[in-house]
Amino acid sequence: MNGWAMTLFRRDISLSVRIGGSALVGVLFFLAVVTVIPFGVGPDLNLLARIGPAILWIGALLATLLGLDRLFQADREDGTLDLMLMAGRPLEVVVLVKCLAHWVATGLPLVVAAPLLGIFLNLDPVSMAAVTATLLVGTPALTLIGAIGASLTVSLRRGGLLLAVLVIPLAIPVMIFGVSSADAAIHDPMPFMTPFLILCALTLISAVIGPVASAIALRFAGD
């Protein structure tokens, strides 16, 4: 990786884990969402085991959406975004690096927490491993798609809610293939790899569409 990209990556990571950053709030939110589900559907362990992968995926989606509105907004407020726009570096790469740093700070903790939360939901080891694998592959896609929403709403003062509304329809395919490959690991006849590979493909597609579209949007928001 180039020097400037590494510097940007380190800067974003340290900003999000130090005081004022919000890296670990997402995991707490994830825990809170998973805790509140049994109160809604009842404490039946068989039911929870059946819908467990879906609960973990919905929790991860909501936790990702929660952190996204600060992806570019903090940089815009203190003027860093303008400097990044004028620095002459390819903005798409800047966005990609920022998304990567954001994912490492907020998405990766969700993946690490998923097996632990799986215990609460009575998941067996196979499905726990499957959910964790799908989250590991799928949450970067959520961050990258969310970056489009984050850059579109960057100039709005209260853009968080609108961001969620704009991003959720685009995140539906990731959700479908994440949950269906986790389900396929439990129910034997269906192959696990087919939906899993499609999920990988979706992540790769969003790694192209996300940075390009959000770079265009940031250029328009900048002037």
Binding site: I148, V165, I172, P173, F177, I205, A213, I216, A217
Partner: protein
């Protein structure tokens, strides 16, 4: 090139004034013919009875909600690539119309579903993807409403519309994977339509009528949007004239 001649809003408005009465008249006539054919000439279905007539509203509305998004995607391309001054006006005024047609398709579909499937709503692939399309229309309209500068809002919405246009086939494919119960496509098939021609003709006429209706409403909405922007520009000029100096930076040419 005609495409660029009508980049001038005034010339475009003049064109709208000429075309609109003819288009409206044509739309009314085709609607009258289509509704007559659909409600009095077309036979009742041997299984579905009179409820099959819902099809003459439902299917054209479903076609139109797709066509409207395509027009918005083309207009967004016009905004971002060619910076055509009317492109974002076109995209902005198409969004509520598309949302209305999508809503109509959803409502008539669920009214049709109650007697046929026994339920107003099923989480089937087509219904779900149309619902997602509806949410995307509403999200786009909200994005336009949250930004006060129409030029900036137009560009942001254009980016989102194009991303949505890339994503819609993916959403469609993944929802199909997820679940399917709805009947497969019965008109647009390689081996010819499976509907009897006595029902196909009224459907075809109604589809033309709905398309004409879309263009009539779209032209009207574009005219209103241009006038609204002129009013906005006049108001801003008046405001900056009332307080010279402070508002000098905002007195940009809006149109």
């Amino acid at each position: 090139m005609a495409f660029w001649d009508y980049a001038n809003p005034t010339r475009f408005l003049k064109l709208v004034e000429t075309v609109l009465p003819w288009l409206t008249g044509l739309c009314v006539i085709v609607f009258a013919v289509g509704l007559y054919l659909g409600f009095f000439v077309a036979p009742e279905d041997y299984q579905q009875g009179a409820t099959v007539r819902i099809m003459f509203i439902h299917v054209p509305a479903a076609w139109l909600c797709m066509m409207c998004y395509s027009i918005m995607a083309l207009s967004s391309l016009g905004t971002l690539v060619w910076k055509h001054p009317l492109a974002d006006v076109s995209a902005k005024s198409a969004a509520p119309i598309g949302a209305a047609f999508t809503f109509m398709a959803l409502v008539t579909g669920s009214l049709w579903g109650k007697p046929m499937w026994g339920t107003y709503w099923v989480w089937d692939a087509r219904l779900t993807s149309v619902l997602v399309l509806f949410i995307m229309y509403l999200g786009l309209m909200t994005l336009w409403r949250t930004m006060d500068d129409p030029i900036k809002a137009g560009k942001a919405a254009a980016v989102l519309t194009l991303v949505g246009a890339l994503n819609l086939p993916i959403i469609k494919f993944s929802v199909d994977w997820w679940n399917t119960l709805h009947q497969p496509a019965s008109v647009m098939r390689m081996d010819g339509p499976s509907i009897d021609s006595s029902m196909l003709w009224p459907l075809f006429v109604m589809a033309i009528a709905f398309t004409l209706l879309f263009f009539v409403i779209h032209l009207m909405a574009m005219r209103n949007e241009i006038l609204r922007r002129r009013v906005r520009a006049l108001r801003m000029r008046a405001a900056s004239a009332a307080h010279p100096g402070t508002a000098a930076a905002t007195a940009q040419p809006a149109e």
